[in-house]
Symmetry: C2
Subunit: 279 residues, 2 copies
């Protein structure tokens, strides 16, 4: 399923109206819910006026803008439509039920967009651009990935670095859970060895929650740029990764369990780092 | 779909082997993935040896214990089987693929159990039993509910109180995300008016993250028993609820967004309360 040539090539545009689910463009957009297609097309799907507005303010415009035909008018949406047209993108009006099928949501937002993915190499990261960076290793749940991006935004982090085999940050679920932070946070993907090499080429304190030889997470000597790392949802971090950290900290576990949800652990730790760095 | 009489009545038992997916007991168990059936039967499904062991240590045994036929032997599982038999429950061995269909998971745990739900009235809560209680209002995501239970366990809370129309805490997703805390934390469900009346009959500080007339969340005068409340995933708390709080606190939001994932916000706040109460 590739984007129909007619659409891909269109420069000057008028708003198109598509009412059939079997339309090739609709099929193309819907195919982006599937990782295999996303990877091949290097395109992904985001939904909701707020997300699309965040994207635009972050410098990203959709190549295809889908709008539900029964939507309420909104000045931000008119502006967005105008910007998409001016950038040579396509604007398509579809019935609400088609938008629901495209996004896989019963109550779809009134608008969705197809975006080009971007370079997620470590070289795109300027570590001095922010005091905190979040790092996840083999995080498998796209909702958790999106939540980490959202948390990164909230603590003023620079971005999220994905190590090893994580879920796809461009999946519909991750994009949704990020609440727009996918567009405003830097995003990098790397293997552990590559990350280590990159990290040690400059300043940077690698911190992880750990039970091994760890100090209390409150009052630990966090230092910027601080890389806060959490591991896989069920296995946590490999021992080798923990031992490579500059700082291992432990959070109180008062109950029966010895771990928190990974995205929760990352957030509690990141907020502690923020409080320390801000003094 | 009700539990077949033969099974319901069985006291003395031998381990049964069921190989057919259309078997009434299997159909009954599978029906518990559906909220309507759970509500009618007042039974729910939990999976995994760790959860079932937590349940047992929390005083709860399954009425039906399902074990995959190809499972590894484990002393905890043998003990559990013995306990279920002694309590008059049923032990059923099924092929792994049937267990997968029952739990809806591609890689099912080797064991699952059917449990009776319990009374979740506010009157079952002894507020003095713990320094922290978590409260959620209209939380719609069962994964978030389970995560809140898991966080409650970690901070040494007494339990989780669900206000208004929340997701079902006995859903497979919530039980799974709770990592066993569903069995060890107290669980109450109430409407707001009822909760307020109950809360004000005794000691208790109601705290919420808020942007209205709030003080910084660090250094706020938290006091036990502290009820940490978070709201609906998209709407947050109604203004009336926030204004009824004893303490409104605000967390730094350094980025573009003005909110965190609800379960994340609850956890960051709960850990801050814990640190304050422990001085």
């Amino acid at each position: 399923m590739t984007l129909p040539r007619r659409l891909r090539m269109s420069g000057a545009m008028a708003r198109k109206i598509i009412t059939g689910y079997s339309n090739p463009t609709i099929k193309f957009v819907r195919s982006l819910r599937d990782k295999k297609h996303r990877r091949r097309e290097e395109r992904f799907l985001a939904e909701g006026l707020r997300l699309l507005t965040d994207a635009r303010e972050g410098g990203r415009l959709p190549e295809i803008l889908l709008m539900a035909s029964g939507r309420d008018e909104h000045p931000l949406l008119s502006d967005l439509e105008q910007a998409v047209v001016e950038s040579g993108g396509d604007v398509i009006e579809v019935p609400t039920d088609i938008l629901a099928k495209v996004t896989g949501k019963d109550n779809p937002q009134a608008v969705a967009g197809v975006y080009a993915e971007w370079d997620t190499g470590l070289s795109t990261i300027d570590r001095k651009a922010a005091p905190i960076w979040l790092v996840v290793q083999a995080m498998r749940d796209p909702g958790n990935l999106g939540t980490m991006l959202r948390t990164a935004d909230a603590v003023g982090a620079g971005g999220l670095i994905l190590l090893d085999d994580c879920a796809d940050p461009f999946s519909v679920e991750a994009v949704r859970a990020s609440m727009g932070a996918i567009f405003t946070q830097r995003l990098a993907q790397a293997r552990w060895a590559e990350f280590q090499e990159w990290l040690r080429q400059g300043e940077g304190q690698l911190v992880a929650a750990s039970l091994r030889d760890a100090q209390p997470y409150r009052g630990a000597p966090y230092a910027a740029p601080c890389f806060v790392m959490v591991g896989n949802e069920s296995r946590g971090l490999p021992e080798e990764y923990e031992m490579a950290c500059d700082l291992r900290v432990t959070m109180p576990m008062k109950g029966r369990a010895d771990s928190l949800n990974a995205a929760v652990a990352g957030a509690v730790l990141a907020y502690e780092v923020l409080a320390t760095l801000e003094g």
